[in-house]
């Protein structure tokens, strides 16, 4: 379950990994998601290796299908990642944009 406190705790980590450049290591496109992500499907998820070698997962946004390839350069951005209910706290997190 998502609680506002968990979202607050996670935010402190997210700011450290924003606006970082990296390359796609591997990607997939999800067609059958869990409940919280149903309205975004189908959506691509990429595993990115940042310039400092750290690896981060995120959805790819503002993309063309031709961007879905190994080695594609991307940058991390802050986006809404999920909202559990109409009135629930909105969780923001990291997604990636093609460069």
């Amino acid at each position: 379950m998502i609680s506002p406190i968990k979202i607050w705790r996670r935010q402190k980590e997210i700011r450290k990994i924003l606006n970082k450049k990296g390359k796609i290591v591997v990607w997939t496109k999800i067609y059958t998601p869990g409940s919280d992500f149903k309205k975004y499907a189908p959506y691509p998820v990429v595993l990115v290796e940042l310039e400092n070698k750290e690896k981060i997962y995120g959805q790819l946004v503002d993309y063309e299908d031709s961007d879905l390839k190994t080695g594609k350069k991307v940058v991390s951005v802050l986006r809404k990642v999920r909202s559990s209910s109409e009135e629930g706290v909105i969780a923001y997190g990291v997604k990636f944009k093609p460069l």
């Binding site: 996670r10 591997v26 990607w27 997939t28 999800i30 059958t32 998820v45």
Partner: protein, 383 residues
């Protein structure tokens, strides 16, 4: 030495008229009847289950089993995602090593079809890391990452993966307890819709209900009295990072590699001795990686080897894989899977595998994986 003296499984499938504990009760009574044991002869129970707490708000299942079995003995639940059954079996074996002349019941069960696919997918995601969940990575999504990486690295296509499902559906057609008993073609697999690119519906194991049970004992007098008995040569568990991204290789399950090495060493046999194996094919790619990581096939050759179909029943191969239909066709009630795999090997080694009986099977291996490879269990049995 620990012996496996009985196995029972319920039908696997969408069993809308049965609850989790209806299934547990059915399989317990089945295995007791088969071994001619009474509830009073059971000294401990180990229960493999993953989702009852998340989906049904239903914990303390151990006490519910005490109520069903009408006993007051030690009962424990093991949870290791899809390896919950294998983990329960390992704990039972370890319990016997510490206690002589005991009979232990191991039950695995899962009830998954009472909920919408989205709800069940979300519940299964509880076994992935927080970051994986936040990125919207489902379990098919994690295995899709492994598949995409593997196909690109070794220049295979989605067709190479499809042969796993074709083989396992053929085996499922020979198993009356399987969820799916329909044979499929490579074309059927390739034309099924995507779940998570490059994996499709027919690359994926289904959401199933089911329960399976085995009885393990180190009571020599009892072993002598039993008609069917196999020896547990090894049962080992290895863990690894919960996050796929923290592992050195995306297209390898290191826990499987390591646990297989330990199990073969302890069993004092080699890979060539194995006649039948049940490997964890939650997705088509998973069987190919399992065959490589268990050491049956060289790394990177699995995509080609599976096309030869030497592991299919009736093709004369020296190792037949997933005669139950695997997770793909027999179904995947997650807590039950690890027990059903061990049970299938028991049936093969004791000549009870009916239409899919592999001739003269002496050694069998079962391989059960939790999450994207955070837990791996290997069990080796001999007759």
């Amino acid at each position: 030495m620990n012996h496996l003296i009985g196995y029972h499984t319920t039908q696997f499938g969408e069993l809308w008229d049965k609850s989790l504990f209806d299934l547990v009760e059915e399989t317990i009574s089945g295995v007791l009847k088969q071994t001619k044991l009474t509830n009073k002869q059971i000294d401990a129970v180990f229960f493999g289950n993953m989702l009852a707490g998340v989906l049904e708000n239903n914990l303390h299942s151990t006490s519910k089993i005490a109520e069903i079995l009408k006993v007051n003995i030690p009962i424990f639940r093991a949870e290791a995602a899809c390896a919950s059954g294998g983990a329960a079996f390992n704990l039972a074996k370890t319990y016997l090593e510490a206690n002589s002349n005991k009979n232990v019941l191991v039950v695995g069960a899962e009830k998954m079809t009472d909920y919408s696919p989205e709800q069940t997918i979300t519940a299964l995601s509880a076994a992935a890391s927080g970051e994986e969940q936040e990125a919207g990575l489902t379990f098919p999504g994690l295995y899709a990452l492994m598949a995409n990486f593997y196909l690109e690295k070794y220049h295979y296509t989605e067709e190479n993966l499809a042969y796993v499902s074709v083989k396992n559906h053929f085996h499922g057609s020979l198993n009356s307890k399987a969820h799916f008993r329909r044979q499929i073609t490579v074309k059927d697999v390739l034309s099924s819709p995507y779940v998570a690119f490059p994996l499709k519906v027919l690359d994926s194991s289904p959401i199933s209900d089911g329960a399976s049970a085995v009885i393990l004992t180190n009571n020599r007098d009892l072993i002598k009295k039993q008609k069917n008995s196999v020896t547990v040569l090894a049962s080992e568990v290895v863990t690894d990072t919960i996050s796929l991204k923290e592992r050195k290789q995306i297209d390898e399950i290191l826990a499987t590699k390591n646990v297989a090495d330990i199990a073969f060493k302890n069993a004092k046999i080699t890979r060539h001795d194995i006649d039948v194996a049940e490997v964890h094919d939650c997705f088509s790619i998973a069987e190919i990686l399992a065959m490589e990581d268990l050491g049956f096939w060289k790394k990177g050759t699995g995509g080609q080897k599976i096309k030869e179909m030497s592991t299919m029943y009736g093709n004369g191969g020296s190792l037949i894989v997933n005669t139950s239909g695997g997770l793909k066709a027999a179904g995947h009630p997650v807590g039950a899977t690890g027990i059903k795999q061990i049970g299938e090997i028991f049936l093969q080694l004791t000549g009870q595998a009916e239409k899919r009986q592999v001739r003269n099977a002496k050694y069998g291996l079962s391989h059960n994986v939790g999450g994207s490879g955070g837990t791996a269990v290997v069990t080796i049995l001999a007759v």
